[in-house]
Amino acid sequence: MANEIHNFAFPEVQMSPSRFRHALSRHRITISKSCTNCGQCITLCPYHVYETGSKHPQVTFEHLCIGFACSRNDFFCVRRCPEKAIKVGLNPSFEILGDKRWPADLLSSTWHMAETGNIPHSSLNYKTGDSGGGFDRIRFIFPPDGASKISKSEISTAIELNRSDDSRPRVTIPIPLYLGGMSFGSVSIVTMLSRVRAAAALGTFCCTGEGGYPEELMPYDDNIITQVATGLFGVREETIKRVRIVEFKYAQGAKPGLGGHLLGDKVTPRVAAMREAVPGSALFSPFPFHSVYSVEDHKKHVDWIKETNRRALVSVKVSTPTDVDMVAVGSYFAGAHIVQLDGSYGGTGAAPDIAKKNIAMPIEYAVPKVHKFLVEEGIRDNITIIASGGIRTAYDMAKIIAMGANGVCLGTADLVALECIRCHHCESGRGCARGIATTDEELTGLMGLEWGTQRIINMYLAWRSQLINILSRLGMKNVNELVGRFDVIAHLDHLKGRDIHGELV
């Protein structure tokens, strides 16, 4: 099986440019009237920013321009233009794009990866955000050049999800990530299917979230995780039997201790039918499971699923309270194969701001606590830790693995690949104006299924090559070697003159 996975045929990158007329870019290029349409700039630019136009060249791919950094190149169009007609400036709109966790650079570089399958060639920061702590202050310590280099083709990024010694099947995924739950209702069917199809193409999984199992998903049963959450919306014996992994959602990092809330506007007839509810009326998922008030109750839940589907693995998604380590141990002894820790800065379709910011701890604290505790308990090798809630980049993914996770679960990054700009208005009115998190028919029509699928595939292929690069620099042949390697990372605020042998990246 491991060999099979090693030879897994990853899909190809296919160029998938922005679905809007102009991609958002840091730079603004203007061509003045003195342009004679000589075409020099079109020939010069290796990034294909310009296309032929009738009166003057068209600035078609402004976002691919590397800006002022280009001035050291021979092909710098501003200098080489015989009429001095080209001007490059900063785009004022770029200033209001994004936030501290997902600054404009991170959004743009993610869009770039989703479009091209490569890291951006410009100076955009694609590794960290501006949050000033956690991942954004953690760096890899790469050994000095030449110390260790592993050939990239030898490196495996596959992980095993069933690490217990029970009789259930092995489930290996060729990349250490799968896609987290976003319910039908909170996102459009096109978004949902794009994520599922991308997961299938990449040999991994995508979770349904708590909103039922639309029939369009059925061809992808083997790549679907179905979710059982507190509202039990759309949970049926038949859907539990279809899949290879069933996930219990005890809590969500963005709103720990609080229930889910789908606003009435989003409960269209189809959403209502899927959830066996009334169209137009808001739906609450209670918190918590009122059938679980102890680890013993929790075990009954896990046993129920295991009995219903005898080949399924069970995942338990929990948030990060002070005693998150005890919760993880409890989940193990209740029989879970996977414990998913969802950090407090994770995504949501709608949550009170006070909960998103203040309740429970960021994932960067929770994973090391749980990893170390499970090691001390002697059970670390028997359970898979999946980290989620605040993983934005390939670097975040690699860092959290070094901090003790086996793999990660993503959500927001997928939506950014689909050109989410994090306006934080998923919940208002007709829903997402960009047609991602909406059930409005007209808005849903803004996005095509092939395009959406390919954008997500492209992004994760770019992530995989970054991960391989990191492993190669660290001299590791297998991503499993990276788990819990606190010695290969450092936090910039805690270095204090410590001897670091290597380059901080």
Binding site: A23, S93, P288
Partner: protein, 460 residues
């Protein structure tokens, strides 16, 4: 079960145009006059609802735009841009940030709690209250569903001194005399304002709100006009003059009286109690590095309530000041170690700007807290502090209608109350009294950083 405490809220409109973070700038020059202009496709109908204000710098600073950027990306000649609103950036200061101020405005206008989509977008942590997280319950501890009203979560607190035991004589009669206790349904008291334009109408707004909410407004004896006397049961009288010069009737009918700290403060407390034995006295102390010793002495000497005051940024008076939450932790723990914490009520204020600060300060040891600037912001204050130097208030706070002002404050408090229920519910707590000093149910930045990050990068 006690009667459920509920704060009525209803939208109350603004008097002045909103200051939003960004605006749309659209040029006319170069317009291609497309048959179907992108402005027509706006999901939020921004261009149809345009509310232009000639005094504002940007073309359209409407609050309807939700930053979806579709018009920016869609206009063929790139004639539409989004731009940061320079006025927004200059709101408040580093502590009272534009985000906090606009958040308070939203709550005062709508009475709703701020809810948004996507994950948290702010910094990882920060100074003061941003350096801690609160706990939640999972699997082994039940949470409480307070916000949707299915379980009752009490936010009531008692103010006053408490007996640690009751004494009885040989016949079984109780000989202990319990000190007076005042109950407020929300752990918030409205404090003296650090600054404001002429405050007659402002005080009346706050007092009306305090009355409906069932809490207190601290009013200087020198500000107490005859028309405020009907509100006396919601006034905490602040003695800013000699006891002799205040009407004895007023002392006799007050439920709470605050006195500034000095060496003889307890003899003043006794003098007040002689006039009115049922009044609860509060000693107002500025927060400084000596506070814990002073609070311990006062507690042992019979003080009932101590009100600890930090500055507008939540800092104590010192060369290297501690933040209010950190000093309160020290004070609380010192009283606990000395076995006297439950005898005294601690009020704390200064730098309380958001609902989460309330929960966090209670976790750090306060029984209840006092707020000031958020009440002004509820009434559209921009925290420009021009009034301090006598310059006219840009939002004419001195002219407000007290009914309008009280409704805005009620809305804000409704929002804060609901957010407190969210925090308590997530922690599985049924009353805010139990939250006080529960530092084990919080996570502190400095502890987690040391525990998790300090050991990284060491070669084994």
């Amino acid at each position: 079960m006690p009667l459920k405490y509920h704060i009525h809220s209803a939208p109350v409109s603004n008097r002045f145009p909103k200051i939003t973070k960004s605006g749309v700038i659209a040029w006319e020059e170069g317009c291609l006059k497309c048959a179907r202009c992108v402005k027509k496709d706006c999901v939020y109908k921004v261009y149809e609802k345009r509310d232009l204000d000639g005094r504002q710098m940007l073309d359209s600073l409407d609050s309807v735009c939700m930053d979806c950027f579709r018009c920016v990306q869609g206009c063929p000649n790139r004639l539409i841009q989004k731009g940061m609103n320079p006025t927004y950036k200059t709101l408040g200061d580093r502590y009272w940030t534009p985000e906090i101020i606009t958040d308070l405005w939203f709550q005062a206008e709508t009475g709703r709690i701020p809810v948004s989509g996507a994950g948290y977008g702010g910094p990882f942590s920060g100074i003061g209250f941003d350096a801690m997280w609160t706990d939640m319950s999972e699997i082994v501890r039940p949470t409480r569903d307070g916000i949707h009203g299915r379980e009752y979560i009490s936010t009531t607190v008692d103010l006053g001194r408490k007996l640690m035991m009751l004494d009885f004589d040989g016949t079984g009669e109780m000989i202990s005399v319990p000190p007076p206790l005042v109950e407020i349904p929300l752990p918030i008291i409205f404090d003296l304002l650090p600054w404001s334009p002429p405050r007659e109408r402002i005080i009346r707004s706050m007092l009306k709100a305090a009355k409906i909410l069932g809490t207190f407004l601290i009013v200087r004896a020198s500000d107490l006009e005859p028309d405020l006397i009907p509100y006396v049961s919601n006034i905490m009288l602040h003695l800013d003059r000699q006891l002799d010069s205040v009407d004895r009737n007023l002392i006799g009918t007050s439920r709470m009286i605050e006195v500034p700290y000095n060496e003889d403060v307890l003899s003043l407390q006794r003098a007040i109690k002689e006039i009115n034995p049922s009044v609860v006295t509060v000693i107002r102390v500025s927060l400084d590095p000596g506070s814990s010793a002073r609070v311990l002495d006062l507690t042992r000497a019979g003080a009932e309530v101590i009100h600890l005051c930090a500055d507008e940024q939540g800092l104590e008076k010192a060369k290297e000041p501690l933040f209010i939450k950190d000093r309160m932790k020290e004070i609380h723990l010192r009283l606990v170690e000395n076995g006297v914490r439950d005898q005294i009520t601690l009020l704390a204020g200064g730098g309380i700007a958001m609902a989460e600060h309330m929960a966090k300060l209670i976790i750090c040891g306060a029984d209840a807290l006092t707020i000031d600037i958020p009440l002004l912001v509820a009434m559209e204050c921009r925290v420009c502090r021009r009034c301090k130097t006598g310059i006219a208030c840009p939002v004419e706070l001195e002219k407000i209608d007290p009914v309008w002002g009280s409704e805005r404050i009620m809305n804000l408090m409704a929002g804060w109350h609901n957010q407190l229920l969210e925090i308590l519910g997530a922690m599985g707590m049924r009353e805010v009294r139990r939250l006080r000093g529960e530092m084990g149910r919080a996570m502190f930045f400095e502890d987690l950083e040391r525990e998790v990050f300090a050991a990284m990068g060491k070669r084994s």
